[in-house]
C-alpha cells in the first residue's frame, strides 16, 4: 500500500516521530496555559493543537497500514477544514479589550 518509494520510508517515519514530539510538547504547553487562564481563546488554542496532533497520529497510522490511504486523505483534509473553522471562530469572537 505504500505509495512512496521505499528509500523514503525511514525519512517519513523520522519526520512523523519528530512531528509527534513537537506537536505533543506544544499541546502540553497549551493545556497548561488553559488550566492557568481558563478562558475560551486558550481552549480554542488547545482545540487547534489537538487537531494538529491528530494529523500526525493519522499519518503514523497510514505508515503502519492501520489507516488506509483514502481514509487518511479524508481525515487529514477534514482536520484542515476544522482547523480553519476554529481559527476563524477565534478571530471573529476576539473582543475588544476593556480599557482600564
Amino acid at each position: 500500500m505504500t505509495q512512496f518509494p521505499g528509500e523514503y520510508a525511514p525519512l517519513l517515519v523520522l519526520v512523523l516521530v519528530l512531528a509527534a514530539l513537537g506537536t505533543l510538547a506544544l499541546l502540553g504547553l497549551a493545556f497548561a496555559a488553559y488550566r492557568q487562564r481558563g478562558t475560551r481563546p486558550y481552549l480554542l488554542v488547545v482545540a487547534v493543537l489537538v487537531l494538529l496532533v491528530a494529523r500526525t497520529v493519522v499519518g503514523i497510522g497510514t505508515v503502519f497500514a492501520v489507516v488506509p490511504m483514502l481514509v487518511h486523505h479524508l481525515v487529514e483534509h477534514s482536520i484542515d477544514l476544522l482547523t480553519a473553522a476554529v481559527l476563524l471562530y477565534a478571530v471573529y469572537t476576539t473582543p475588544l479589550g476593556t480599557a482600564d
Binding site: 504547553l29 497549551a30 496555559a33 488550566r35 487562564r37 479589550g97
Partner: protein, 170 residues
C-alpha cells in the same frame, strides 16, 4: 532511607517552593519513594506543603504564608519581571510596565490581579483615577525574587501565554 529523606529535605531548603515532580527529577528518585518521605517530613513539620493554583509546592517550615504565596507567584517569569521592574524603577503606571516589558495589557492585568491579591504589589489611584503600582515589602520581596527560579516548563508555559495574549490583543 534516612539519607534519602535528608536529601529531599536539603533539596526543599535549597529550592523553596519546589514541586513534587521537580524533586523526583532533581534527585532521580521513584515518585512513590518521594511521596513516602514527604509524608513523613510533613508529619513532623520539617516541611510545609502549600497548594497554589492546583499545584503543591514544598517549603521549609520557617516560611510564612505570605512568603510561600509570594514565592510561588514570583516563579512565574512575567510576574517576576513586573515586580523586578517596579523594584528597579520605583512606582510606575501599568502602561509604563507593559511597554517596557513588551507584554500585552491583558497579560499584565492577569498577573497584577494575583500580585495584588497576594499583597506583593498594590494599586494606588489618584484623584483623576490614574493607577500607580508599587511594591510594598521591598526588602523581603527582593530576597524572594532572588530565590524564585522557574523550571523550563514554567518558563515555557509563561512565554506561551504571553505570545497568545499578544496575538489576541492586536
Amino acid at each position: 532511607m534516612a539519607d534519602t529523606r535528608t536529601r529531599i529535605e536539603t533539596s526543599i531548603e535549597a529550592h523553596p517552593g519546589i514541586h513534587f515532580s521537580e524533586i523526583v527529577r532533581r534527585l532521580e528518585l521513584a515518585p512513590g519513594q518521594v511521596q513516602y518521605h514527604l509524608k513523613r517530613l510533613r508529619a513532623d513539620d520539617t516541611v510545609v506543603a502549600e497548594p497554589v493554583y492546583g499545584k503543591t509546592h514544598y517549603f521549609p517550615p520557617e516560611y510564612t504564608d505570605w512568603e510561600r504565596d509570594a514565592l510561588a507567584l514570583l516563579r512565574r517569569e512575567t510576574a517576576g519581571g513586573v515586580v523586578a521592574y517596579l523594584l528597579a524603577h520605583g512606582p510606575a503606571t501599568p502602561a509604563a510596565v507593559a511597554d517596557s516589558l513588551d507584554i500585552a495589557r491583558s497579560t499584565l492585568e492577569w498577573h497584577l490581579d494575583r500580585l495584588v491579591e497576594h499583597q506583593l504589589v498594590s494599586k494606588h489611584r489618584d484623584q483623576s483615577n490614574h493607577v500607580t503600582l508599587t511594591v510594598d515589602r521591598r526588602d523581603r520581596t527582593v530576597q524572594l525574587l532572588r530565590e524564585a527560579d522557574p523550571t523550563l516548563r514554567e518558563r515555557m508555559v509563561d512565554r506561551f501565554t504571553r505570545l497568545v495574549d499578544k496575538l489576541l490583543d492586536q
